[in-house]
Each structure stands twice: as C-alpha cells, then as structure tokens.
C-alpha cells in the first residue's frame, strides 16, 4: 500500500508536501536514508519513531533549517532548497513550526513572544491590529490570562500551547508539530490533542505531527508513518500499521499500551 501512495521519483501534484528519496547524514551518522512521503491538502499525518531516528531532522529539512544531502523536498509547490532568502521568508510564513522544546523566547513576555512573528513579517500593522491578533491567538489556546507573564513562569503544557499560538498568529497553511505531548501528563496531553484537532478544523491545516505518543497519533492523524532505520517502512492508517507483526513495530505498540 505504501508504494501506491509514494511513487518514487515522481512528485504527486495533489500533495502539499512531497518528499522524494531524502537523505541526510551527520558525519558517519546516517540519519535519513531515503525518505519518501506525500501529504495531501488538509491531511494530518503522524510520524512515529524511536528517539534519535531523525524525526526532528526531517521537519527541520521541510522548513529549510537544515539542508538535505540529496533528494527533493517540494512544499506548497516550491522546491525548498531552491528558495532565495526572500522567498524563504514568505514560504516560512505559511508553515507553522511547534518546537519540541516550545522555544519560547525567554527574555520576552508572552505578549512579545506572540507579537514577534507578526511584527517581523507583516509591515504597517497598527498597534491595535497587533494587540487584537495577540489576544485572539491567546484566546484560541485558552491562555488569555498569561499575556503579561514570562515564559519561565508557565508550566510545560502552557508553554506548548503558547508555542502553538505563536505559530498560528500568521495563519499558516501547514503545521509541523515536534512532539507536542512529550513530557506532559495524560490529561494535558489530551488537551493538546484536542487543540491540534481544533487547529485543523479552524484553519484547515495540513499537518505533520511527530510523536512517541500513540494516543496522540491515533486521535490527531489520518495516517501514521513509522520511521525505522532512516526510512518510512510503514505508512498507512493507525490500525493497518499496528496490525503489522514486525517486531520493531510491535515493540513500539506494546510499550505505549502496557497493561
């Protein structure tokens, strides 16, 4: 099934993200060894994989934070590697990136954190416009009361949500979530899962959700892709992928649902 979805060598015209034979190594460490992936408009896909398999590296390549060694990455019809600095800035406004470590700016208040992408990308905004956008973004994640706090005063779950709000402020077309629920308790994790689903409905975003958390994968995604040894060995619906008798897949499942 997975070869039918990802024809090697040919980019699918309906996909928003189209990756072909992507490779990336750091010295002798061969992290990505031929990734193929297509994500269609409005689709949410979860990427699963063990720690250190290169999941973060993959989405950092998608937004051009890291350069691939070879292969092609076409996002929203543009080859990410060919973009000029200016085109890259415009492109990145359409892609929201929620970082694994939330990446809130420690030296800035929550308000300033949320304003940052806005005032840096959109010219000629009035103070009132900015305030309105910030208030709306905070309201959307249910954290209006934190507006004047500093990131260090927030809990891990709040920081994650602020990080998501900060990326939503530019109304992206694509959302990339790097382990949105890692380090959070089950109840907060469910809140984040719900937030991801709300975001999806609200802006009709296409998303890649990186996670170790199978509940998160199951509730937020249409398909899951399993990263094993630098490749997507399994791509399909949650139930299809985990029906697989492969030991490496089973281990992952058993750990998450140990009774």
């Amino acid at each position: 099934m997975n070869s039918a979805m990802n024809k090697p060598g040919k980019t699918d015209e309906n996909s928003v993200i189209s990756i072909r034979n992507l490779r990336k190594s750091f010295g002798d460490l061969h992290v990505l060894q031929g990734i193929d992936l297509d994500v269609k408009q409005g689709e949410n896909i979860a990427v699963l994989g063990r720690s250190g398999t290169g999941k973060s590296v993959l989405i950092k390549i998608i937004v051009g934070l890291l350069k691939p060694d070879s292969g092609s990455v076409v996002v929203l019809g543009q080859d990410v590697e060919q973009l000029s600095a200016k085109e890259m800035d415009t492109f990145r406004q359409k892609v929201g990136f929620s970082f694994q470590s939330s990446a809130l700016y420690d030296s800035m208040s929550i308000r300033e954190n949320l304003e940052f992408p806005l005032v840096r990308n959109v010219r000629n905004l009035s103070r009132a416009d900015v305030d309105k956008a910030v208030e709306k973004a905070l309201d959307d994640v249910g954290l209006s009361q934190t507006i004047n706090q500093m990131p260090s005063e927030l809990s891990g779950g709040q920081r994650k949500r602020i990080g998501i709000a900060r990326t939503l402020i530019l109304n992206p077309e694509i959302m990339l979530y790097d382990e949105p629920t890692s380090g959070l308790d089950p109840i907060t994790s469910i809140e984040i899962n719900n937030l991801i689903n709300e975001v999806r409905e609200r802006i009709n975003a296409t998303s890649i959700i990186i996670t170790h958390d199978l509940t998160c994968a199951k509730t937020t995604s249409d398909r899951v892709a399993m990263l094993l040894d630098g490749k997507f060995e399994r791509v399909g619906t949650f139930d299809d992928v985990f029906a697989d008798p492969d030991e490496r897949v089973k281990q992952f499942y058993n750990y998450n649902f140990v009774n």
Partner: protein, 245 residues
C-alpha cells in the same frame, strides 16, 4: 584545530557581512548596550576605585626611596590610562558580560529559540550576534573611560590623604603626564577588547553543544577564552603603541 580556526574566521566574516546589510536592528542594539553597561557598572565602579587606590599606595614606597613621591600623580595617570583602566574593565566585562552572552545564546541554541527566530522570518545572527557584538564594542570603551575616571579619583584620595596634594594640582599633573596618543590608543584598545568579548561570547553560545551542560560549557569557555585573548591583545598593543611613541 585548523577546522576550528576556519570556523571562527567564517563566524567573524559573517559578522562583518551582516553588519552592513539591512535591516538594522537598532532597537535591539540599544537594548544590548544598556544591558552591557548596566550589568557591569557597579562592579566596575568598585574595582576601578580600589585599583586606583591600591596601585597608588603600593607605588609610594619605591618612589619614596628616591624622594620622588611628587611624581606619584603622573605615574598613576600613565599606569591607569594606558594599562590598568582598559585591562580592569575588559576583565570585569569578560566575566560579567561575556559569560552571560555565552549562557544566553547557548541556552537559546539548546532550546531551539534560534531556530524559532529563523522560521519567524528573522535573521538570528543579525538579531542576536551582530547586536551584541556592536553593543560590547561600543559600551566597553565608554565603561573604560568611566573606570579610568573612577580609578583616578581613587588615586587622588590616596595622595590627598598622604601627601595633601590638592585636587587642582593633581589634575594638572595627571593631564601633564598623558597625551592624546594615550587616550586614543586606550580607546582603540578597548574597542578591540569589547569586540573580542562580544564575539567570543556569541561564538561559544552559537556553537554550544546540545543539552543543558552545553550552556554551562559555553559560558565558561566564553570567559576563559576572552580573558586569555584580552591579555594577548594587551601584549600586542604594547608592541604597536611603543613603535608609534
């Protein structure tokens, strides 16, 4: 070793390239100048004052042997303006400012804040590195002038107590001893010190290894390396200035 050197060179040349390319982060530069000045002011006031006082006190016996304690003000002036002022300021700033730049940028690197800036359409090198290096290069010379002033006051209090030298004659002797070359050379030297401290802090932070221990290492390396470089530069400036004198 050579790889590291090439890396440093690339970092410095990137600084000069981005320095002249718009957009300019004026607001951030001013904020950083304020931070640098504010962070080290109290420490510099006390160390500068004590340096002036102690140096005067310790120089007195040697001069007294030749019956030349009247030379004390000019000796103080030369020592403080040419060497002690810039050096004390640079060392304090390396410890205070260099370490905090290393730690701050290091932790921004570790917690992906630098990546976050980049995807938000902001050049993090310009926003973080250029603004900080400019801030240290501008503020540390100003702090140096301040240190020199405070140290001279410290020296004056000491000679005033012991030799009863009046303030006007002290000032006259101080300005009689130093020349414009001294002031110019000291300012230039402090700019180089400031540049070094900012650059080393940013470089160590920007290239810190991932993980929390990377932050501590970056802060520590920033202090050790910039102090070492400040002394090397002091030595070089001695050679250069004496060839002009």
């Amino acid at each position: 070793m050579f790889l590291a050197l090439a890396d440093v060179f690339a970092f410095i040349s990137r600084f000069f390239r981005e320095l002249f390319l718009p957009p300019y982060e004026f607001k951030e530069i001013i904020r950083q100048c304020y931070e640098v000045g504010f962070r080290s002011l109290l420490l510099i006031s006390t160390t500068g004052f004590i340096t002036g006082m102690v140096f005067t006190n310790q120089s007195r016996p040697s001069l007294a042997e030749f019956g030349a304690t009247s030379w004390l003000p000019s000796l103080i002036a030369i020592a403080i303006v040419r060497a002690l002022g810039p050096l004390v300021t640079a060392l304090i700033a390396a410890g205070k400012v260099g370490s905090s730049i290393g730690a701050e940028i290091g932790s921004m690197n570790v917690t992906e804040q630098i990546d976050a800036m980049e995807v938000s359409g902001t050049n993090p090198f310009k926003f973080l590195v250029v603004s900080r290096v400019l801030a240290t290069s501008i503020t540390i010379p100003i702090l140096t002038m301040y240190t020199i002033f405070v140290a001279l006051i410290g020296g004056f209090l000491n000679v005033n107590m012991t030799e009863q030298t009046s303030f006007t004659s002290y000032i006259q002797e101080v300005f009689g001893a130093i020349s414009y070359v001294d002031i110019f050379a000291s300012s230039l030297k402090s700019i180089v010190f400031g540049f070094t401290i900012g650059m080393v802090g940013c470089y160590k932070g920007y290239n810190s290894s991932k993980g929390t221990e990377g932050v501590g290492k970056a802060a520590n390396a920033a202090v050790v390396t910039s102090m070492f470089l400040v002394f090397i530069e002091e030595l070089l400036s001695l050679q250069i200035v004496s060839s002009f004198r």
